[in-house]
């Protein structure tokens, strides 16, 4: 009998030598795409989070390499077009991407090099899951991880439509959607995500959400003491908070970090599509179909009458059909 892993509290520890059992699995699912009334699990797992401290990132892309290696993806060899991003965008084979921005700080006239590790934010209220039409293709575990279940994915791209952060990418090879899993397979056996494990400056750290928030506080305090008075935590409330958070030195302007949304939320258009349009639309179709069927079965049809036939007969014979006939 193998030991059961514990919920990881850090990405820094090394794995045990003995194999361990997963500590969470399908029984811990709290939300399932295209599924109503998901039975809630008996237990609530500790909420987890990855914290990315932008101010400590050196842009080495070790996280990208670790991600590719752990997830065994095979991104195509890129092309240098004179920018640092490599590849140029998230792809079905690249779940995380260092995005580089050169920003001139108007207060200091300094050029600041802002590097943000982009990838799935693991929203508490995930737009991808809301938009997904395929039952079970997207699930959320009670520890906050939002995971794509490849076998159920139909490749429609609705998750792209629903995501407030433009994260999922659909493979043109197998027509499935891909994104960061928060290394759910590593976390399940007590390990932190591969990117956090690989980060040489510990700009990426991992643990319980509470620990990460506390750690962020110390980082923010430090940044403020160094003159970054707007330093803060990016854990946007519009999506219920996220399980990937950023420490930003300019938290008042998330947009300067390659268009990190200021106030992300599931778009009202998506809410309207999945909400009132669906309910009212199906009700209208249902009523019309049932009404037309019942009326068709029980009401008298519009029948051609004898005098219509006679009139047509006269008409084609060149007689005046209206003469003495029924008008």
């Amino acid at each position: 009998m193998n030991d059961m892993a514990n919920s990881p509290t850090t990405a820094a520890s090394n794995p045990p030598v003995q194999p361990t059992e997963a500590y969470f699995d399908a029984r811990d699912v709290v939300r399932i795409s295209a599924t109503r009334n998901v039975p809630q699990p008996d237990r609530q797992l500790e909420k987890l989070a990855k914290l990315i401290d932008v101010s400590k990132c050196i842009g080495c892309k070790a996280c990208q390499s670790a991600c590719v290696e752990w997830n065994d993806t095979h991104p195509a060899v890129g092309e240098n077009v004179g920018v640092y991003e490599n590849p140029h965008d998230l792809t079905p084979d690249m779940f995380t991407l260092m995005r580089f921005a050169e920003w001139e700080n108007p207060a200091t006239n300094d050029l600041e090099w802002l590097i943000r590790k982009d990838g799935c934010m693991h929203c508490e209220d995930p737009g991808c899951l809301k938009a997904c039409p395929a039952p079970g293709a997207i699930v959320q575990y009670s520890n906050g991880i939002v995971d794509f279940i490849k076998d159920n994915c139909i490749g429609c791209g609705y998750c792209v439509t629903g995501c407030p952060f433009d994260i999922p990418r659909i493979s043109q090879t197998d027509h499935k959607s891909y994104k960061c899993t928060l290394c759910s397979d590593r976390v399940a056996v007590g390990q932190g995500p591969a990117c956090a494990k690989a980060c040489p400056t510990q700009a990426i750290v991992f643990g319980t959400k509470a620990d990460m928030q506390a750690h962020a506080e110390t980082r923010i305090e430090d940044l403020k003491s160094r003159g970054y008075e707007n330093a803060g935590l990016y854990d946007p409330a519009g999506v219920g908070g996220t399980h990937v958070m950023y420490v930003l030195h300019h938290a008042d302007k998330p947009g300067i970090y390659n268009d990190l949304p200021e106030n992300p939320r599931i778009s009202p258009v998506v809410e309207g599509w999945k909400g009132v349009t669906k309910t009212a639309g199906l009700a209208a179709i249902g009523l019309a179909a049932v009404g037309a069927t019942l009326h068709g079965l029980f009401a008298r049809g519009n029948e051609v009458e004898e005098h219509d036939i006679e009139s047509a007969d006269k008409l084609v014979k060149g007689q005046d059909p209206d003469e003495g006939g029924h008008v």
């Binding site: 139909i154 439509t161 027509h175 639309g281 179709i285 019309a288 037309a292 036939i309 047509a312 084609v316």
Partner: protein
């Protein structure tokens, strides 16, 4: 060349006079109609499957979720071109005419089947014209919004905010076209003697006299150069 008839297509003619039968749709138009009709039904079923989880089981008709996702837009393209071909054949006589106003004003008599209170009509009444133009408009909206959310073809070309609008518009237009479709089928069944126009291609003289008298008059006046012996 004879001037184009006003209430009928040049090909509409008396099929027989004893009893009176009038050719309403030639074989090509009927085949065209049925390709369009079955495409629309397949699109409605596959589209509804992806619209609400409660109807996801309909993907089984198409071989599963992935197949449904793949085939829905392809059928959409088939329908678009099929309908376009039908549009070319039908648009002229679906243009509004003065008598349409009277017909709509007396919609109560239409519903009650009191044709004697209604104006004489050409090949189509205002209801049929509504179906034609509603289908035309909605199919254009559906093909444009549909291509925009066609992941395999346009996934990388359309921005996410635009996709959101397109998916909502697509859903609204789809609901509308299904309602128009129900209306179309219902009216064809309620008005007895109509379905054969799209199966055999002909209608009875009595039907033509009752519902499309100007159409019948025009055909009769050009065809009865003397009874066919």
């Amino acid at each position: 060349m004879a001037p184009r008839p006003y209430y009928s297509e040049p090909g509409d003619r008396l099929e027989s006079v004893q009893p009176v039968e009038v050719s309403r749709y030639r074989g090509f138009t009927r085949a065209n109609h049925w390709v369009t009709a079955f495409s629309l039904i397949a699109l409605a079923l596959s589209g509804l499957a992806l619209f609400d989880p409660a109807l996801y089981f309909l993907t089984g008709l198409f071989g599963g979720g992935q197949m449904t996702r793949w085939i829905h837009p392809i059928i959409g393209v088939v329908l678009f071109f099929s309908f376009a071909l039908m549009f070319i054949q039908l648009w002229r006589l679906n243009m509004p005419k003065p008598e349409d106003t009277t017909w709509v004003a007396n919609i109560g008599d239409v519903v009650k089947g009191r044709e004697e209170n209604l104006p004489e009509l050409g090949k189509y009444n205002a209801g049929q014209k509504f179906v034609f133009w509603a289908m035309t408009g909605l199919i254009i909206v559906l093909i444009v919004s549909g291509v925009m959310i066609w992941q395999q073809v346009a996934g990388h070309l359309v921005s996410v905010p635009l996709r959101r609008v397109a998916v909502l518009v697509h859903a609204l237009a789809a609901v509308a076209i299904i309602l128009v479709f129900i209306m179309h089928v219902y009216a064809a069944i309620w008005t007895r003697g109509t379905l054969r126009a799209m199966t055999r291609g002909t209608v009875t003289g009595g039907w033509a006299w009752r519902h499309h008298r100007k159409w019948l008059r025009e055909i009769a006046s050009r065809d009865n150069k003397g009874p066919a012996e």
